[in-house]
Amino acid sequence: MDLSLSTRNEGDRTIVAVGGEIDVYTAPKLREQLIDLVSNGSYHIVVDLEGVEFLDSTGLGVLVGGLKRVRAHDGSLRLVCTQERILKIFRITGLTKVFPIHPSVDEAVAARD
C-alpha cells in the first residue's frame, strides 16, 4: 500500500501522521516531506507511526536523516508508536536509543528534553 502523509501543527510542534508502507519505494516521499518542513522552519517534529503497516531500513534511514536535520537547528524529532512489530525494528537496530518514542501524539507533543 502506498504511503499517506498528513501534517498539522500544535503550538511549535509539527505532527506528521504517516500511513501505509515506508519502504525503499515510498521512503523518498517521506524524506522530501521532512526536508520541506525543516526548510520552512519546523524544527520540532513528531512523526506519528501508528498508521504504518510496514517499515524497513530505508524508512529508518529517512527518520535518522530527519533527526539529523532538526538537530542542526537544536530541534527534536519524536516518534509515536505502540505497534510491537514496528517497535521491534527500532529495538533490533539500537535506534530506541536515538529516538524518543511515545505512546501517543499528546505525550509526544507535551514532551520536552
Binding site: 519505494y25 531500513s57 534511514g61 539529523k68 512489530r85 533490533i92 537496530t93 539500537g94 536509543k97
Partner: protein, 149 residues
Amino acid sequence: MATVRLQISATPAHVRTARLVATAVARRSGVADSALDEIRLAVGEACSRAVSLHEEFAPHELITLLLADQGTFVVTVRDMGPTGAEARHIDPLEGFDGLGVPETFFAGNGGRMPAGFGLALIGGLVDDVEIDPAGDGPGTVVRMSWPLG
C-alpha cells in the same frame, strides 16, 4: 510445496513484488503466521540491498529470489553486484559501531544508513541466516530459513 523462482529488475517497486511473493508462498507453504512479518521484512531488506547494489554496479542484471520448501522454508536472494565491493557488506555490524552507538549516523550522508545496515537488521531479525559470495560468478547470496508449521 515446491519451488518458486522470482527474478526482478533493479527497481524499488519490485522489492514490493518480492515481498508479496515471499509472504504469499511462505503462508501457503505452512510457515507460522507469526513469522510472516519477519519474512516480509527480511526479504524486503535483502532485496532493497540488492537493488541498491544493482543500481550502482549492475543496472541491467536481474536479482534472483528463490523460495523452496526443503523441510524448512528457505529463501535465497542473489544479487549480481561485485563481490569485491561486497566485502564491506559481509559483516553486518561493520561501520555501524555495533548497533549500539548510533552517533556515527550523524556523520553520514544525509540520513542514508551505513552500508550493511540492512544486513544487520536481517541478522538481528532472523535466526538462521548465511551471507556468502555467490561462488559461481559475481554477487552475494543471502540465505535465510524459517521452520515450517
